[in-house]
Structures are given as C-alpha cells and as structure tokens.
C-alpha cells in the first residue's frame, strides 16, 4: 500500500468555466433548468468541476504515479461552495493536496486505506469558491 504524505501539494492549474462545457454538462446530467442554455453567465451544475479534473497535467495530480490503480476505488466525492458556485465565464485556479489518510478494517478482511484529496478552487481575487474532496480507497489485495 502506497504511503502518501499528508499535506503534499501539486502544482496549481487554471480552469476556464466555459459556457459550452457548462451547457454540455447540464444536458449530460439531465438538468431541466433552461438557465444553463440561455444565461451567458449560468451558474454551473454542482458537480461541474468533475470535468476540470480530466483536463489537468500529471504535475497537477498530487498522486501522479504513486497509486496502484488496480487496487483503488473511488469511494466518494464532495463539493463545498462557500458562496454561489462557479459561473460560466469565470476563470479559476485549482490546487490539489492530500488532506488526510486513514485506515479501516474491511468487512471481508484486509485493511482499507482511505485517502482524501482536496482541490481548492479560487477566483482571480484569490477568494475560495469551491472545495472538492475525492476519497479514494485502496485495498491490500487486488479488487475481485
């Protein structure tokens, strides 16, 4: 099981909140509000930042090359918005770090390691606009 250093940070990255991407994401998540389609500064759907994580470089991933992905599962995901969530037209800066690592005994034996990755997104003024937590669980043995 990989040992991950709590507090370790990756390089920051820029996320343009593109209107077309907001619209496409709203459609893909079966949203019924028309604001996503008509408002040039539409507030993005709550999990929209999921899209940002697939457009970053290895140096922006705090676990780049550390994990054995055959033994990991995505256990959970959390989005926290201190105020109104990001809007189309915003440009955010994201930075990922390891927030915590904890262990639990699995139901079928074997220890499970939970790693919580926190990505903070800030606006141009440096104000925190979103916190995204991804919880990854790693088993001692390969998943069956």
């Amino acid at each position: 099981v990989a040992e991950v250093e709590v507090g370790r940070r990756a390089a920051p990255f820029t996320v343009p909140v593109e209107r077309g991407k907001v619209r496409e994401f709203a459609r893909a998540t079966k949203a019924r509000r028309t604001s996503y389609l008509t408002d040039t500064h539409a507030v993005a759907p709550p999990t929209w930042l999921a899209a940002a994580s697939f457009w970053i470089e290895p140096e922006n991933h705090v676990l780049g090359g550390v994990f054995d992905y055959s033994r990991t599962l995505h256990a959970g995901q959390e989005y926290v918005f201190p105020g109104v969530p990001p809007r189309a037209g915003d440009t955010l800066t994201g930075q990922q770090r390891v927030e915590s690592v904890y262990r639990k005994q699995g139901r079928r034996g074997g220890e499970l390691t939970f790693t919580v990755l926190l990505t903070e997104y800030r606006d141009a003024a440096g104000t925190l606009v979103a916190e995204v937590r991804q919880t990854i669980v790693e088993t001692e043995r390969a998943a069956q």
């Binding site: 893909a28 998540t29 949203a31 507030v43 709550p46 899209a51 959970g76 995901q77 989005y79």
Partner: protein, 143 residues
Amino acid sequence: VTADTAQVTVGTNLPEFVDAPLTRTDFVRYQGASGDMNPLHHDDERARAAGFPSVYAVGMLAAGVLGSWVADQFGPENVRRLAVRFREQAWPGDVLTYRGTVVDCRTGADGERLLDLELRVTRQTGADHLVGEATVVVGAPTS
C-alpha cells in the same frame, strides 16, 4: 420542478425523480461532457476482458444527475454542498430513482436560511447506487 421552498420543513420529502432506463448513450454523453474516457463505461469488449458482464455506469453520472436534480429544485446558485458515497454499480437498463429528504433547517454564518438534505439514488432492485447529502440556501439573511 422548482420546490416551493416556503413549504419545505424538516421531514419533507422532495418529489422523487425516476429516470428513464440507463443507456450506453447516457454514459457516453456524460463521459464526453466530463472528459473521463475510461473505456469500461463505453467499450463492451474491454469491459468483458476486465471481467465485467458489460460496460457499467460512470459513478459520477448519477452524482451529476443528483446534483442537477437538487439544483433544478432550489436553483444552482443556492447549492452550498453536495457529497456522495458510491455503493453498488449500475448497469445499462437500470432504472435509478433519486430521492431526498430535508433533515435539518438552520441559520448559516451569514444569517441565511439553510436546508440540509439526505439523498439516495437506488437501483430497481432497491439497492443503493449512491447515497449523499446536500446543503442549499432557501432564504436571504433575516437581519
């Protein structure tokens, strides 16, 4: 689809959303929108080679539908938190039902009225696909 937020109190169940049976097109559309190109969600041959009976749903698809469903009812600008934990996998043809219950009504740090919701997405078998929580703003500061 907008919730009448004045009528929402602790114990209120949101009107449930029974989605159409999941299709591979749902998976592909979500994967394209998010940029997640994991082939196990759209390439049956690759999924079978990895030991699965077929492609299976992207977990973040139902998480996203859940988020958009909450945002449809309370306004995307009013969502302050959404958290999900993944349970059983979902498969093409599955019928997912989205449910939510108001479990707390409280005043936020800036005096705004907040609702805490417990959320659940179940398969047609009754098993959970994912469970979660959300917090939404339903009223401006009172003072």
